[in-house]
């Protein structure tokens, strides 16, 4: 097993074996990131391809300040954001069921990752990106605002709407009986 440093040095020298090793090491995780940020698998694959090209092109810029995975993940997040439509924050208001009751944890835990992924992918781009950045990556609204070039309030409202939209999707997909019992 190569250390990150050895792997990077070999990649910088143009070692194709090392490049493939690096790709294999992070491809699955980064593909998961891409899937979360994009609506379609084809888009996720485009982002994955672009992201790895950027990683290999900028590998010399990695100074070992943080983990290599974190550095690569940031590249993929930025690539995914750039891949999205720039008009992603213009959406119609969600008009109904905004404050609907949510399902308890035990019901949610029955949902599979694939189901949850589909729900996220079905979100409008703006909701999806803000939700991913906030809920999963742990960005603050201020950081999201700086990253996306929007205001913090916009970020908050996008997150709120994303949550409601996800809630609606989850409710629709849960067995009605279970939902009725808990509602």
């Amino acid at each position: 097993m190569h250390s990150d440093y050895q792997l990077i040095q070999r990649c910088l020298k143009g070692d194709s074996v090392a490049q493939e090793l690096l790709y294999r090491r992070f491809a699955a995780k980064m593909y998961g990131v891409c899937l979360r940020y994009t609506g379609k698998r084809e888009d996720a694959q485009d982002v994955l391809q672009d992201g790895f090209i950027k990683v290999f092109g900028n590998l010399s810029a990695y100074k070992g300040d943080g983990s290599l995975e974190g550095w690569i993940r940031r590249i993929f997040i930025n690539t995914a954001i750039n891949h999205c439509n720039r008009n992603m924050f213009i959406f119609s208001e969600l008009e109904k069921n905004e404050y609907a009751h949510f399902t308890p944890e035990d019901v949610l835990s029955e949902l599979s990752v694939k189901e949850l992924l589909v729900f996220v992918q079905e979100l409008p781009e703006g909701y999806r990106i803000v939700f991913n950045l906030y809920a999963i990556e742990g960005y603050s609204h201020k950081e999201i605002a700086e990253t996306l070039g929007i205001s913090a309030n916009t970020s908050k409202s996008q997150l709120s709407r994303a949550r409601v939209a996800l809630q609606e999707k989850i409710k629709k997909n849960l067995k009605y009986s279970v939902y009725e019992q808990t509602a």
Binding site: A27, Y31, L48, F56, N87, I90, I136, G149, R163
Partner: protein
């Protein structure tokens, strides 16, 4: 309510924390074919480049190795001329060519040489009596019995017809067949050596007629002769007891014999002060250009910013190898400034149809035997614009000019043609011109609001760096030298405002001309 909504965050965070899915296999092929060519840097160079500490060590080692190499190459172990001469003289009678050319006056002969008889004869007369290479004359041919007695049997002084001995201002030049000998003082001995340009440092030559020596004199001639037949043409006969000008060891005056010739005494008193023809101190000016490469992890140091070009004029005072140098130089650095631009612009977000008119078309449908009335909407499309907020990094070119004032010290090791120079000091720099053009936006249409924030660091007005260099100077002529000097700078106070995490350091090469007064 919010708390319950936030449960979905936790759910996703929990489920997607380590979410991974294998991508399709063909993606690697796509990635592989699009990987940009690697900017290959050797590991050691990369290590040096990325680590200022290692860079400093590498620079120090390089300078140290260079210094030791120069010292060892310039060092010549001193011989014991007197002993060597005696050994050589033993083989003189056996036609040993080298022995012919190396004759020694031993220490105990000194007083004999200084006889009035010898002193009273003029130089030319002496020369006329000296046997030539054609006929090796016995020692008794010398005018002075003292001189003859002084010479060992094997040490016949021989001069060719073309041999002349001419005293100059501060040294003796012995010319033989066009070969010029110089006399040097090697501590204990006085050596005539060909063709070394080195002249004695502490000898006073005042009168051609006084063959006074303090110490054994050895004449060494480095030319190798192949056979005795060539002696007449090529050999430089040894000259010892011919009327050498007075030789006096300034550093050993108490050992000087008393000069009895009044004319010589007068000349000695009026003789100019002894000076080293190499001059132990010099003034010089240098005109040089330099190219530096940024070597540190400077955030915005890309290709254009990595190169710094400079020109300078310096003055240098050198004494006994130690010198101080200062002056002024200008250097220019080009680069880019990055701004984060946020703007709102009106952009199309879609369109709708506006119904302009409504008409009712009525007709009889004979096929169905019914009367039909159709409503026709006459509509026109209208594009909907909305304000879109976007963020963009805008890069614009910039250039900066600096004035540098160096103050450096160093050591200069002189060679015949090459001077080795080791130098270090501080360099102060001041920003004298900052070329930062107005930010130009290519997408200025329909921009409703705009805010810009500079990302690139601001340039500081003053900087200070430490300078170290090791180089050489090739002497083109007596007054002109060609400099070539690799150097390294470490910026104690960088050229830009910095949080201290990144220290700028550069490596460069300085080349130029130096005029020595």
């Amino acid at each position: 309510m919010n708390k319950r909504l936030e449960e979905i965050d936790n759910l996703y965070r929990k489920k997607f924390g380590d979410f991974a899915e294998d991508p399709p296999e063909f993606l690697w092929d796509k990635v592989r074919t699009n990987i940009p060519p690697a900017a290959v840097k050797p590991g050691l160079i990369n290590l040096i480049r990325n680590n200022p500490f290692v860079s400093g060590i590498a620079g120090t080692i390089t300078v140290a190795i260079t210094a030791v190499t120069v010292y060892l190459s310039a060092y010549e172990p001193a011989e014991a001329p007197g002993i060597a001469a005696v050994e050589e003289n033993k083989s003189l009678l056996a036609d040993d060519i080298s022995a012919i050319r190396q004759i020694s006056l031993l220490e105990n002969d000194r007083n004999t040489v200084n006889s009035p008889d010898v002193v009273s004869n003029s130089f030319q007369e002496k020369k006329a009596n000296i046997p030539t290479a054609n006929t090796l004359q016995p020692a008794s041919q010398f005018t002075s019995p003292a001189v003859n007695a002084l010479l060992p049997v094997s040490s016949q002084p021989i001069l060719t017809e073309n041999t002349t001995i001419e005293p100059t201002d501060n040294r003796v030049e012995i010319t033989d067949n066009g070969n010029i000998f110089n006399r040097i003082n090697n501590g204990e001995d006085i050596i005539l050596e060909k063709p070394s340009p080195i002249a004695p440092e502490n000898l006073v030559v005042s009168e051609e007629n006084t063959p006074v020596t303090q110490n054994p004199v050895v004449i060494q001639e480095e030319t190798t002769l192949i056979s005795p037949e060539t002696i007449e043409k090529e050999i430089v006969p040894a000259l010892i007891l011919t009327p050498l000008p007075t030789i006096r060891l300034a550093s050993n005056e108490q050992a000087l014999p008393e000069i009895q010739n009044p004319g010589l005494q007068e000349q000695l008193q009026n003789a100019p002060p002894v000076t080293d023809y190499r001059r132990n101190h010099t003034w010089s000016v240098g005109l040089c250009s330099s190219a530096e490469i940024l070597s540190s992890d400077f955030q915005f140091a890309k290709a254009r910013e990595n190169l710094i070009l400079g020109y300078g004029l310096t003055g240098k005072y050198e004494k006994n190898g130690i010198f101080i140098e200062s002056g002024a130089s200008f250097f220019r650095q080009s680069g880019f400034i990055d701004h984060n631009v946020k703007y709102s612009s009106l952009d199309s977000v879609g369109f709708y149809y506006n119904v302009d008119s409504l008409t009712f078309d009525a007709y009889w449908d004979s096929a169905h035997q019914t009367f039909v009335v159709e409503v026709v909407f006459h509509a026109s499309p209208h594009t909907v614009f909305d304000s879109v907020t976007q963020s963009q990094v805008v890069r614009s070119p910039s250039s900066y000019s600096y004035l540098e004032i160096p103050l450096t010290f160093g050591y200069q090791k002189e060679g015949r043609r090459l001077n080795w120079i080791f130098q270090g000091g501080v360099v102060m720099s001041a920003l004298i011109r900052s070329g930062e053009p107005e930010l130009q936006l290519s997408h200025s249409e329909n921009i409703s609001s705009l805010s810009t924030a500079r990302i690139s660091q601001q340039r500081s007005a003053f900087g200070l760096n430490y300078f170290i260099a090791a180089g050489l100077e090739y002497k083109i002529g007596n007054h002109l030298g060609l400099m070539l000097q690799p150097y390294m700078k470490y910026y104690r106070k960088p050229l830009y405002f910095d949080d201290g995490s990144n220290k700028l350091y550069t490596t460069g090469l300085k080349a130029g001309l130096r005029y020595i007064f």
